[in-house]
Point group: D2
Chain length 349, copies 4
């Protein structure tokens, strides 16, 4: 039996932790050797996640074990914001590679982080070292990185559709980017909160943090500027959907004058990407079609009556929006096949 | 026992028909005396709708019964587009009042109807006679109308939030109105279609008719022009939600320069309306909160970073978006209390 | 305007409290004058329940206000088990009527309560005074009661279908009663618990307290003995459904030998009941058909191949299974029309 | 690149067809070379199933192509009952292997088939040749079979939990087996039927074919007799759940007197099975935990108060209940690793 690379998960009992465990249970080259939880240490993984019964023989441990770094080659951090940086620092100092799923290393400007998150930013040295893990865009940097700032789910579903248009300079910058985004509740985590109860979420759709207050906004704007060289602002309206998984972002924008064959453009950028599919237009871009997969479906529609162009991006917020992209990045960092452990279509219906 | 006004429902076996039956079962002044169905004639109402067991002792009839007009004082037409006008004409000629839930009498311009619906429009005389039944806006006309063109669900959820801003001339007309709208599947009717199966709709959100092709667009634009005197175009993106009932529309727009106290404005327009509630902002405007009621929840959020204003409108697509508003109009046409049969909060959770 | 009877709700912020507020908002003869909450005192009702926006101008208060009894004529207690009895006692001593939605006064035998609930039972005097509020069965006693022990949701959905067979002595007592019961998550309350998150409950069905450990078992067995004079044991398997509201109980039993016209029997017992409907068999007994209503749908199927008879009972766990039946009992206690505030069909679809 | 075994799917556009396509898209040793559909021939697979975009370059064909047998080595038949036998016969005569997902070859006794299905049974020669594909029980026969009668979803979820008790002769035969079974709607297929619309199924649970009329009953009883040598009858109550996938069966039975260590028994039978997990009891046996996987979760609870034993079996109706088990059987028939293409945990949440 082939020797597998050892993987650690710090913060293994939330939904992104569970999803890492799910994906890595079938990974051909890696296996989880340590998984931590402050609240549930001492319990077996399958007590927290009965769906993993029989896949792991692993007991959760507290994360302050002294020899944590020696237990694995690469670590995923699935911690709340403000908690990841210290752990990342210690692991990096011990020569380990780190994929941080928290937002702590995503914003290059510490002041912007401080303003939006209200806590101390990560040390500048770490922020410099961190590579933003939007894999299709930063693939080469990711291969050589020791620390990945794994993107947020909303940014992933928004930036992948926007990238070709921004990179080509096609977007009319005088028109604000308006984004109407919808997320399954797993994006809000596994904490016991009334607002996440099925009784509160089912049979409705709930906008939240309306009026430009969601913390993913600076992350999106940072990357937009990186893509096109200009600071563009976005209006983001997030909604909670009555579903467990899945995310759809619809972006309203105007293109500069002149005919463009957008279909060819998107195929040029993404035609060879293993996890991106370009659909004929927005009409069938539905997160249901990527459920449980690392895929991103993208469609473009154009309203000729009004001149508005609409981009549609659908992902599974826990896979391409979190743990799947994290494993995709891990594969690159470790020199493995980028798609290892991530093949396959979504589970439909 | 008080003598009740006799009501007919033509096309009683779809969801809007069932909702009319539900509402009228508890109406203090009206009772259904005839209900038609081409496909299910001869069956009892409760065979089609077990939820109505014990509420009706009524057998469905074909609509071509010769004396249909003599069977009721007012008729609701819950028919597919293109089928309502001939029935309306015959009933009106017999001195009956008609509330048409189909789109056949909504568009004043027959050419626009022909273009969007692809079938022959209603006769000009009927179009002239018809009053658009957005109750809060056209209340006085409705009281004296014989034929009501009951509004579509999307238009209702969009026009009520827009009306005060349009009426006051506050909207920057150089900026297109972008509307991201989401509907429960009952809005698509009760026909056996694969795309409406639970297997297809659950655990996702499906945009459709993207790029400005939904037939409610001309209806919305007609009323916008009626409200503000200028033709403004809208980009509408409808989505199918994995829920049975409920509709949320989010409208992205820019206001003209200058400070406005929108909260006061909305209270001035709607503060005394029995079925409209103004919420502090968009964050809790959720169709779940109006489920089964005739209410419309409205919220306004403003993104100060980008200057975009967002309107949120939530209704139950089958009540305020169809059969409830139809009964509200009926009440006015018959000189009854406007809220009769429609009181009460939504069913939550 | 008619003077309405004053009603108090102690523990108003859970789902049964919210449902009482919903029903009473439209009640023709009663109005809520005081509503308490330990956690949310000082907040307006609509902050906790946006669906009630505009229906109440009521601020939640702590329940230890000295003059609580003077604030209303009848009180509903929607408190956790073990907390209701002391409040009930104080209110009764002040001459108020009480409908207790908690289990604290349901079990006549304090030792059985102590065994199943693990806390001190209510005083014997209160247990003697309390009338079990299964309205259709104990209507006459309820009219004269000061203290109602409002039934649990599972017992209501199970006892109403069982009553005619038990009362007539038709059930083969040598065969255990097996009950497979399914509940919407609102039955588990509005507390922030991981197991009630949409992420945990959606797209599945979760048996719990299997093997005869649910606390509604002694309540069911007590009433079975009251109905037929003999102690019969039940095996109850509760399940959590991925829906907000609704309950279905399926009861497997054997009848004594001999032909019985069960359809006539059920019509004899329930044909005139305003809230019970007898369906032809079990095939369309679905809580979806009674959603938001005080109705109970009952069906009987018989498996001639095996000789097993199946009873089906469907209710809305928050209405007939809790707050609706509580108001039905209130109506009787106050000499009002039994159906006041409770008319109407369920919200379908 | 390794040469893969060629697979045909006859009837590829229903849910079991789609699931075969999904599983085989990632299969290491097999690939689909032909897929048929009468209604959708000429369309690409991804037009019917957008979730498969980019996974297939395959156009659907009518099944009457003359050289069908030459196009693949093994065929799956995902056809309605009554339609599979003729196709199977032709393919077998051409030396192909066949896994039939329809019920046409499951019942060894043609008269029983005729009685329950109301159409002509398959020829006796085929019935003799067919092996019932409950993999864990008939593994050895399956390896040498040319024609597999793939089990129904209800039977799979019921027979796997029952097998050890029946095989050991532990069940009290004087007590009828009562089975309360719940299925996601995909089990009812992808046909356009009103009763499968989200509007009809959501927010409820619908018993159907109550009183012993479901066609899976003779299949279950046939295998029970095969396991224990005695004809036992079952009462089966199927329910439709408001979910796309997943099945839970709860079996109520009595054991013969005497202590039994059931936990050890189940581990003895299933401890080494790659797709079966024995849980401590019924409390966490939930189809949500096996969603999208070929797993079967089994739990046993005992009600000591009543002496009833409860078995719980959870599967994904489309995987272990249909297409996954079909691929598991294919793997055995082709001499491949039994788990090929089927590894991995379910998608949770």
């Amino acid at each position: 039996m082939k020797k597998k690379i050892k993987i650690g998960i710090v913060g293994a009992t939330g939904y992104t932790g569970g999803e890492l465990l799910r994906i890595l249970a079938s990974h051909p080259e890696a296996r989880v050797t340590v998984a931590t939880s402050e609240q549930s240490s001492g319990k077996k993984v399958e007590e927290l996640f009965p769906f993993l019964s029989g896949f792991y023989n692993l007991v959760l441990e507290k994360s302050d074990i002294p020899d944590l770094a020696s237990r694995a080659d690469l670590f995923f951090l699935a911690l709340p914001h403000g908690k990841a940086s210290a752990v990342a620092k210690a692991l990096l100092e011990n020569g380990r590679k780190v994929v941080d799923l928290s937002p702590d290393h995503r914003l290059a400007d510490p002041e912007i982080y401080r303003k939006w998150y209200g806590v101390e930013p990560a040390p500048g040295a770490l922020l410099k070292k961190a590579v933003y893990g939007l894999t299709e865009i930063y693939r080469d940097k990711i291969k050589n990185a020791d620390l990945i700032a794994n993107p947020g789910c909303y940014p992933t579903s928004i930036l992948l559709p926007l990238y070709p248009l921004l990179k080509e300079g096609l977007i009319d910058e005088g028109f604000p980017l308006m984004i109407d985004a919808k997320s399954g509740v797993s994006g809000a985590g596994r904490s016991p909160e009334v607002k996440l109860l099925l009784g509160e979420v089912s049979e409705g759709i709930g906008p939240y943090k309306t009026g430009g207050t969601h913390r993913h906004i600076p992350e999106i704007e940072q990357e937009i500027e990186a893509f096109c060289g200009k600071p563009l602002k976005v209006t983001l309206t997030p909604h909670l959907l009555p579903i467990a998984r899945g995310m759809l972002s619809v972006i309203y924008l105007k293109l500069k004058a002149g005919e463009k064959d957008l279909s060819s453009l998107y195929l040029k950028y993404y035609g060879n990407e293993p996890f991106i599919r370009i659909l004929p237009n927005g009409d069938r871009v539905n997160p249901k079609n990527v459920r449980g997969s690392n895929l991103c479906h993208i469609g473009v529609s154009r309203d000729d009556r009004t001149g508005v162009t609409l981009l549609f991006g659908a992902i599974d917020n826990l896979v391409k929006g979190a743990s799947g992209q994290a494993v995709q990045n891990m594969n690159l960092m470790l020199g493995l096949e980028e798609t290892a452990g991530l093949e396959g279509a979504g589970v439909y219906p």
